[in-house]
């Protein structure tokens, strides 16, 4: 790369984990370097070793890991051979870490001001008395109020985004040279994520700190990284500048990874085919680890180790055929001819449903007067941030929480509020699929038993008939018959989610409640489950309530979309109409926040910060956070419903013409960066 000595250099790093009686290699001869002030992105699917690398940069030595080979050189000093006191002096001071989950990273029992002072005091940067000045400065730097009242707060009194800002402030307290960020926005809402990434880009401009950004989200990385390293099965397969990697990905894995990103914009722009298959660490070939999943694989690939070779002065790739491989175009999505039965009665009808949490009177209104219908065979998406009430609504429909008002009808029949009072058939017709596939399958039951249980319970089937149905169900979700005998811990996350889908399907439901079922999965797995859902949608014609915060996924799957904020419907209508102007201001901010590859974000549109929804007030719930707020009227008067084209309805004080104008104004549109 360039002639200057890099800030950080990783050379042939090989890290092994203790497993059983031996050592399993988690990171295999990884080399890369980070220049001062550069943002290096490390990307890969779960299990590729990216977090292990990031921990080694901190000299973190867990007793069950071992650096077998290689070195990490930071400012000319080797971290691998460094003694504990030396490391302690360096960590937090010159190299700082921002963890994935700020909730567990902050000590819940210490006020945040005190926690921040600890870092500076530990490195002798400032005595406790002077520390206050430093703290005020870093808090301002990360866009948090620096007043003493705020510093006296405990972590639980902050929102997730604020907690992550505190973690970043803590990392910056000693003015480090390198910031290691391990999935810093994965647990956050998309609008919060946008703000954090905006903050990081801003910090880099202002204080020139170098960053190593570890994430599974390539689209996100494109917005902040200068250079991206792609890891697969513990090896670095490609390193390239960000533009290059999106414009001309060389390694087949990189191509697949880029193609697997669900796009919120037009789907036809796909250049190559999404990834197939799964990373199975147990049966990797001696050569290129990607061989089993590669579209270009030849016999030589499996046998010969692929080293990372520089192909021009800024990029390197570990594939001997990089010159020859051209992207295979993606198959156009088959036209899904959904023949919907022409029935007048919707599969599900939700009419002015309220759900209150907490004590009577002072209750917290989680869902407030939400109404919609889901037609037979339709995929209806509920989108919104955490706390918008979308999961609560799904729980009310399933009968897990009793609504406090309104009516829910299944195929025209009113449902009892509690699941225990519903008939067996009603329970069968609504099936719930949960977000976390790890928790949704009984770890002590074989897959076959898990899928057979609804058959036995609802249809009173005997073992033999159930088994043939289980085989059909496994086939439906594209799993092999041998899975029947396995236990959930022998399955990957994506496979478990398929089993959960199969278990829901065997009950022959009329409505599937899919609660964030893709958000715990890797992009490539997400893409395959999404394809499965699209197929199931056309094959079975089951109505789905698809809850997601991921608008790109919603755009690929949903027929109609409902945007929720603070427990109220903001906008509802057919997919294409919701994703096109006029937007509700909230819909616009959600759409705007989604990272799109190679689209640099301009300033986050919210200047008002993250105010809490104004529940149960006289005005609009979104008032106070709305970027386009009109004025007084938003706080004092309920906004009217407005009918846009194609049956879209949205609720705002702005006129449709006004909303249209705002959505297409040049300052609001994003510019593609020049390539």
């Amino acid at each position: 790369m360039t002639g200057a000595t890099p800030l950080l250099e990783v050379r042939d790093l090989t890290v092994a984990y203790r497993q059983g009686g031996g050592w399993a290699c988690a990171v295999d001869q990884v080399s890369f370097s980070v220049q001062a002030g550069e943002v290096f992105g490390l990307v890969g699917e779960s299990g590729c070793g990216k977090s292990t690398v990031s921990l080694q940069l901190l000299g973190y030595r867990h007793p069950s890991t071992k650096v077998q080979q290689g070195d990490v050189i930071f400012k000319g000093r080797s971290l691998v051979g460094m003694s504990r006191p030396e490391l302690d002096a360096l960590r937090g001071d010159r190299i700082a870490f921002v963890p994935q989950n700020p909730t567990t990273a902050l000590n819940p029992g210490i006020r945040i001001g005190d926690q921040l002072v600890e870092t500076t005091a530990a490195h002798g940067r400032a005595e406790r008395a002077q520390g206050a000045a430093v703290i005020t400065e870093v808090l301002k730097l990360v866009g948090l109020p620096a007043d003493p009242a705020f510093q006296r707060r405990y972590p639980h009194q902050l929102s997730g985004g604020q907690q992550q800002r505190v973690c970043i402030a803590m990392a910056l307290a000693c003015d480090p040279d390198l910031l290691v960020l391990d999935e810093p926005t994965t647990g956050l809402d998309v609008t919060t994520q946008e703000q954090i990434v905006g903050l990081l880009a801003d910090l880099r401009r202002r204080i020139g700190v170098a960053m190593l950004y570890v994430t599974h989200d390539l689209a996100l990385l494109s917005q902040i990284a200068d250079c991206i390293g792609v890891m697969y099965a513990g090896r670095m397969v490609e390193i390239a500048p960000t533009h290059e990697i999106f414009q001309r990905p060389r390694h087949p894995y990189t191509q697949g990874l880029i193609a697997s990103i669900p796009l919120i914009e037009e789907q036809s722009a796909r250049k190559s085919r999404p990834l197939r298959g799964l990373l199975r660490r147990r049966d990797l070939p001696t050569g290129c680890p990607f061989t089993p999943r590669c579209d270009y694989a030849q016999a030589r690939c499996a046998a010969e180790r692929q080293e990372l070779k520089a192909i021009d002065d800024s990029r390197a790739v570990a594939c001997w055929r990089w010159r020859e491989i051209a992207p295979i175009p993606a198959e156009p999505p088959a036209a899904l001819a959904v023949t919907r039965p022409a029935v007048a009665v919707p599969a599900l009808s939700v009419d002015r449903v309220d759900v209150l949490y907490g004590a009577k009177g002072r209750g917290f209104r989680a869902v407030n007067g939400v109404s919609f219908d889901i037609e037979e065979g339709e995929v209806f998406a509920l989108v919104g941030e955490s706390g918008s009430g979308k999961s609560t609504l799904a729980r009310a429909i399933s009968g897990l929480v009793a609504p406090d008002g309104g009516a829910i009808k299944l195929r025209g029949e009113a449902l009892a509020p509690a699941v225990g009072d519903r008939s067996r058939d009603q329970r069968r017709l609504i099936q719930y699929i949960f977000q976390n596939p790890d928790a949704s399958l009984n770890p002590r039951a074989r897959i076959g038993e898990t899928i057979a249980r609804p058959l036995v319970h609802f249809f009173g089937m005997d073992g033999r008939r159930a088994r043939t149905m289980v085989a059909d169900a496994l086939h439906d979700v594209r799993l092999d018959l041998s899975y029947q005998e396995r236990y959930p811990d022998q399955l990957s996350g994506g496979e478990r989610q398929r089993v959960a889908i199969a278990r829901a399907l065997v009950a022959k439901p009329a409505l599937l409640l899919c609660d964030e079922i893709l958000s715990a999965l890797d992009v490539s797995v997400q893409a395959s489950i999404l394809a499965l859902l699209q197929q199931l949608k056309s094959e079975h014609g089951i109505a789905m309530l698809f809850i997601s915060h991921d608008l790109a996924v919603v755009r690929m799957l949903a027929d109609r979309v409902c945007v929720l904020y603070g427990g109220e419907v903001m906008e509802i209508g057919p997919r294409e109409a919701v994703f096109a102007p006029p937007y509700h201001p909230y819909t616009y901010s959600l759409l705007h926040a989604v990272p799109v590859p190679l689209r640099r974000p301009d300033k986050p549109i919210q200047s008002r910060g993250l105010a809490e929804p104004k529940r149960g007030g006289a005005g609009c719930v979104y008032a106070g956070r709305c970027p386009w707020q009109l004025g007084e009227i938003c706080e004092t008067e309920r906004p009217p419903w407005r009918e846009a084209h194609a049956g879209t309805r949205l609720r705002c004080h702005h006129t449709l013409e006004d909303l249209n104008a705002r959505a297409v104004s040049p300052s609001a549109r994003n510019k593609e960066i020049a390539v």
């Binding site: 399933s398 009968g399 897990l400 770890p443 002590r444």
Partner: protein
């Protein structure tokens, strides 16, 4: 341990795999297992090779102390104490294990249901169990035996029931805590949405996932059960003479402890070694299970 199995290369023989597993077990587990096996062998085979019958009198000079022919001495009725200890082995082990097992079954079912159902059932049951636990266990045992009436005293089944009564509330509390944790998992919610009965949820979803906790609990309780059985015997509320139950023997010979301490020490040592062995074993087992058994997914 499934991961270890999978990670072990297949060319290794079954024997060396077991050796690997054995080498990974804690030392307390190995020592405990050896002591326990010795006790089990004595309990099973003892009646066939014991030098004398358990109520055979005139085997030697009464109160003659330890000798090669009578390692634990001879009691005042001229019975060989060593033979009596050997004969009594299976009684002690059987009573304590079956009592604990019964306590486990009752406690687990009540605890799991109580933790899953919650509400008034949970409230009522917990207050009742707390009341039982607040009574010192020996007092509780004596009250239970006294209320069973004189015609039942000395009945081994009564001893088993009493052990179960003492242990069930304690096991139930552990089971309840486990159930409350497991009940938050989505697979339990799925079962509830399906409309499964509480019994079915307990059997299919809760019980299999609480086995780790329950096994540890069983092992810990079983380790102390011989002491409980022995205490009952010692106080005269357990089995009737001439049954060679260890606690009873200690009680019978304690008046003459000054003359021949070995007749008390013998059964006492047997009891102590069983308890120590059981405790070492269960402590090791708890460590192994704690390492490998997870409550659902991590």
């Amino acid at each position: 341990m499934s991961l270890d199995h999978a990670a072990t290369p297949s060319h290794q023989s079954a024997l060396s795999r077991y050796r690997l597993l054995w080498s990974q077990t804690p030392q307390s587990f190995r020592i405990g297992l050896v002591i326990l096996l010795a006790h089990l062998i004595v309990a099973v085979t003892g009646p066939f090779w014991a030098p004398y019958g358990f109520s055979q009198m005139g085997t030697g000079i009464p109160l003659s102390g330890a000798s090669w022919g009578h390692p634990f001495g001879v009691d005042q009725l001229g019975r060989d104490v060593f033979s009596r200890v050997v004969h009594g082995s299976h009684i002690v082990i059987l009573l304590s294990l079956s009592g604990t097992a019964l306590g486990l079954v009752v406690g687990a079912v009540l605890g799991l249901l109580s933790g899953y159902l919650g509400g008034w059932f949970d409230n009522l049951l917990q207050r009742f169990l707390e009341a039982l636990i607040s009574i010192p266990f020996l007092v509780l045992a004596l009250i239970a035996i006294a209320s069973a009436g004189p015609e039942l005293s000395g009945n081994p089944i009564l001893v088993v029931l009493v052990v179960a009564l003492v242990y069930a509330p304690r096991i139930a509390r552990m089971a309840r805590a486990a159930a409350m944790d497991i009940a938050t998992r989505d697979y339990v919610t799925v079962a509830r949405l399906r409309g499964e009965s509480a019994w079915s949820v307990m059997r299919r979803e809760l019980l299999p996932n609480a086995t780790g906790v329950l096994l540890v609990e069983f092992a810990l309780r079983a380790g102390y059960a011989p002491v409980l059985v022995g205490s009952l015997g010692f106080l005269g509320f357990g089995l009737r003479p001439p049954t060679p139950e260890w606690g009873l023997m200690i009680s019978e010979n304690r008046a003459l402890i000054i003359i021949t301490p070995i007749t008390v020490l013998g059964p006492g040592l047997a009891l102590a070694s069983l308890v120590v062995g059981l405790n070492l074993f269960t402590e090791g087992l708890a460590r192994i299970l704690g390492r490998t058994v997870r409550l659902g997914a991590q």
